[in-house]
Amino acid sequence: MAAVTQAPAPPAPAAPRQKPPRKRGRLTPYWLLLPGILWLVVFFALPMIYQASTSVQTGSLEEGYKVTWHFVTYWDALSEYWPQFVRSVLYAASATILCLLLGYPLAYLLAFRAGRWRNLLLVLVIAPFFTSFLIRTLAWKTILADGGPLVGALNALHVLDVTSWLGWTSGDRVLATPLAVVCGLTYNFLPFMILPLYTSLERIDPRLHEAAGDLYAKPVTTFRKVTFPLSMPGVVSGTLLTFIPAAGDYVNADLLGSTDTRMVGNVIQTQFLRILDYPTAAALSFILMAAILAMVTVYIRRSGTEDLV
């Protein structure tokens, strides 16, 4: 800027400047922001404040709850339920990795190879959303039924011996084991991985592939050096959209799991609805939120991409 102003002034434009534009425009962005901000305040900020307050209250339903700044609740909740926290992160991470492994080839196919089938295939990716989350999860109980063909085949191939040895399944069944919960999570969040991957892959100029070929890059090299780095925004947002809801999910663990597969979401639900220990439930929610925020921050910093999608 400085250099520009010091340069000899260009000849003044022929037309003298009109009177300055009215200031009307200055407030416009704020007016446009207003609905969004209101929405955030009412549905995000206020509930957050309410929950934060709940987490430092003590009392009971009959005596009422009062804010006593009882921060020990956080420590108690964490020391009591850390196994469920660890489990949630492990399950969510496993499901995210599985989603990436399954979703990437599919998104690649959609973006580059699907041709005229692309729209149909995209609709098929979203199709499961037309039924309810609960019904989709319950369907896995039929797929993985003890006497069903899938589990029968896995048993015949001795796959379940291996997974049992690893602690993923127990005995000759899949239902009510960690593997079933991770399968459910993977299935339920797969579209959240595929769609961002697809949008960022689809944006890649195919001529870049041709250029890489012209420079004697093998397809593998092209993928490694061109396609994958360019799809990083999709990978990052896809993993976030999968990991974050999966870590807080409780439906899959409830329906497909057993006593040793309960996740933080289940603990919060139980604390809130059954034990009526609202402070602990609120504290657990905040710990989960903080943990996810911390992990996500580190992840985004490390992923080395500026854009998300």
Binding site: W69, D146, T261, R262
Partner: protein, 415 residues
């Protein structure tokens, strides 16, 4: 909201005041006070907002006790019930007993199936009831223990016996005096449920199961046994199996039952703790034997020939779902008339003929025999004298006991 003190000074503001009083280097100016206040609003004020929240004690919130009853002017009643818990005609849309009620009384019933789970429902109506507001419901159906909690919290209306002549006469003796509502001042049973042991003949493949102990101990059933996620249903049956009475047990008895169940969990005997979804597990045979609700089994048996049940020799628990009027209801008298309506044996028979649960109404059996003979003989609908003798109910728990017992049970079930 009671602790809100508008005049309380934030610490930043206090500091500014204190500095000015000392008359030292920083006299209080309007600007410095404002600045301190603004800073305070962001930091301490944020915390102040937190302490302004809080849930008032249950007993202290009776802002508008007993709302005005609009029954005479508004000929309507809002009835909240569980799904598939009332008679339905062939079209699947109409409820003959409700239509009959409207025909007899001229009161229209707005029927909502919005109770799916006691805990969830409590979470849903708690904010309104706690702050003394009308929930928009005039009649709701709650299981014994939640009914007890509602009464304890003072969140239900006392019923007027003058409007309940049939109910007063026809309520079965065994349901007249629960310890949480002696004399039925606040609640009348709608239908009852026995806890039974249900099994899938094919999946069991000749293994004999006669008691809870068999479910817990038989190694051949490893990973194929399910219990209910309702604490009272599972623990009540456990206590009975251990020779205790769920109507009067001690903390030690409860802990012993928890320890025994924990052992079974640890060795992988128990597959899951289930809600209503045990029905599909059982019908498929993934679960060979489980704790189940009597009415479900009658309905399951009509779909699957493999499903059967036993009522353990040691005894079993029975729980009722109760008709109650939430505090602040607009149409209390209309609701009472609907309660009384279901205590006419003919209507009660009509109801259980469809739902297959236990009717608390004397004379319902004779009426049912006229329309459906086999159902009237079914012990799941009308327990025999011997069964009534073996049936137990779970005692009322105090606030503290309830929290402690639920916490122990939650730990057992994994969370």
């Amino acid at each position: 909201m009671e602790q809100y003190e508008p005049d309380r000074l934030t610490s930043a503001r206090m500091a500014a005041l204190r500095r000015s009083v000392r008359g030292g280097r920083a006299p209080l100016s309007r600007r410095s006070l404002l600045r301190a206040s603004a800073g305070g609003a962001l930091t301490v004020g944020g915390l102040g907002a937190l302490s302004a929240c809080g849930i008032p004690a249950a007993g202290q919130t009776q802002g508008g006790t007993s709302a005005e009853d609009h029954s005479a002017k508004e000929k309507t009643v809002n009835f909240s019930n569980w799904p598939v818990y009332i008679d339905v005609d062939e079209s699947g849309k109409k409820h003959p007993t409700l239509d009959e009620f409207t025909r007899q009384t001229g009161i229209a019933v707005k029927y909502n199936e919005d109770i799916n789970d006691n805990n969830e429902f409590f979470g849903k109506v708690k904010p309104q009831l706690a702050s003394g507001q009308d929930t928009g419901r005039d009649l709701m159906v709650l299981t014994d223990w939640l009914a007890a909690r509602m009464i304890r919290l003072g969140w239900v209306e006392k019923l007027d016996p003058a409007n309940l002549p049939h109910a007063f006469t026809n309520l079965s003796q065994q349901f007249r005096g629960p310890d949480w509502d002696p004399g039925r001042a606040y609640s009348y049973p709608y239908q009852g449920v026995s806890n039974v042991i249900a099994y899938n003949k094919k999946a069991l493949d000749g293994i004999e199961v006669k008691s809870i102990s068999d479910m817990l101990d038989n190694p051949k059933l490893k990973g194929r046994v399910a219990f209910l996620s309702e604490m009272r249903d599972t623990m009540g049956m456990m206590l009975i199996d251990m020779g205790k009475d769920p109507a009067k047990f001690t903390d030690d008895d409860y802990d012993a039952a928890i320890a025994r169940l924990q052992k079974a969990v640890d060795k992988g005997q128990i597959r899951r703790f289930t809600g209503n979804d045990y029905t599909s597990d059982l019908a498929k045979g993934d679960v060979a034997v489980c704790l189940a609700w009597g009415g479900d089994i009658v309905q399951l048996q009509s779909d699957s020939a493999d499903v059967d049940y036993i009522m353990p020799e040691a005894g079993f628990t029975v729980a009722n779902d109760n008709l109650m009027v939430p505090r602040g209801a607009r149409h209390k008298a209309n609701a009472e008339r609907l309660i009384d309506f279901y205590y006419q044996p003919k209507q009660a028979a009509q109801l259980v003929a469809y739902t297959a649960f236990i009717s608390p109404v004397d004379g319902a059996r004779e009426e049912l025999a006229k329309i459906d003979k086999p159902a009237a003989e079914n012990p799941l609908l009308f327990p025999t004298k011997d069964m009534v003798a073996r049936s137990h109910s779970f005692r009322a728990l105090s606030d503290k006991e309830e929290a402690a017992y639920e916490a122990k049970f939650a730990k057992l079930t994994g969370a």
